[in-house]
């Protein structure tokens, strides 16, 4: 989709705005009636309207800036031993199940004492 500006419409919009702004300034007494500002303002706004109308800064899609950060890693599948939806306890906490304790049996036999060295 291409977007274009409206230079002709901008020119006449600027000219119209300049004429009525000059009229406002003259009628309010802000500028003397013989001041050249009253003729420069419509001409300047007409040119400004032509330039801005051609550029058309409003409504253009913003350019997406590429960041210098590294791209995100590829997503991985959910592990099978991870908790799934609906597996939470009533308290809302889900602790991992501890492994079973080792079986209780006879302690291992102590090793024979070492003979003292002969003198």
């Amino acid at each position: 989709m291409r977007r274009r500006g409206r230079p002709i419409r901008g020119f006449f919009a600027g000219l119209l705005l300049g004429i009525f702004l000059s009229l406002d300034l003259a009628l309010m007494g802000a500028v003397k009636l013989e001041s050249p500002v009253l003729t420069i303002l419509p001409a300047a706004l007409a040119v400004l309207g032509l330039i801005l109308g051609w550029w058309a800064p409003l409504g253009r899609p913003k350019k997406v800036r590429r960041s210098k950060a590294e791209p995100l890693p590829e997503p991985v599948a959910w592990p099978d031993d991870a908790p799934v939806e609906g597996s939470m306890t009533a308290s809302g906490l889900s602790f991992p199940v501890p492994p079973p304790p080792p079986p209780v049996g006879a302690p291992p036999a102590a090793p024979p004492p070492a003979e003292p060295p002969s003198i």
Partner: protein, 176 residues
């Protein structure tokens, strides 16, 4: 947006000195004197601006003190300056032809419309003798009254609001 900011800043730098500059006082050059009295107020070259009522009688008088005598061709007019390229608009006061008078006075009735309340006019005039301008003067004139009540100003402000909206609508990009 950066370009818009630069343009706005330039406009402020250029327009503020131009808009705020104003004449220091009325001017009268040459061997002439001129004054006008409206109600109890006398307006002459000593006043910077003249704020006069919208309607009234002005008792005017003028004289040239160059020591001249006898009849000679004179010419003069009073006018209001407009912005370029419109030039100037002549008012009712003008004189032309041979004259032996070196001073004159009179009463002039004026009645100006309400749409002229608010603007600042520079009223200027000159007097010439034997084809050469010997006196010239000007004074800033404004009609007394509130400019907010000027119907032309109210209409112009309303249209200005729509013109601003129209201007920003013209800056939109159109899909092709």
């Amino acid at each position: 947006m950066r370009v818009i900011r630069i343009v706005v800043a330039l406009a402020i730098v250029v327009l503020v000195p131009v808009l705020t500059a104003s004449a220091a006082h009325a001017t009268l050059e040459g061997p002439c004197t001129a004054s006008g009295k409206i109600s109890a107020t006398t307006y002459d070259a000593h006043l910077a601006t003249a704020k006069i009522p919208r309607t009234g009688d002005v008792h005017w008088k003028g004289a040239i003190n160059n020591g001249g005598r006898g009849q000679r061709p004179i010419e003069g007019k009073v006018y209001v300056k407009l912005p370029p390229p419109f030039g100037r608009v002549q008012l009712a006061g003008s004189w032309n032809g041979p004259s032996s008078l070196y001073a004159n006075s009179g009463t002039y009735h004026y009645d100006l419309p309400e749409v002229l309340v608010g603007p600042k006019f520079t009223v200027s005039g000159h007097h010439a003798e034997r084809g050469a301008v010997v006196c010239r003067g000007s004074i800033e004139v404004q009609l007394s009254g509130s400019p907010i009540k000027n119907p032309a100003l109210i209409a112009s402000l309303v249209i200005t609001v729509f013109a601003i909206l129209n201007f920003f609508l013209a800056l939109r990009a159109k899909v092709v």
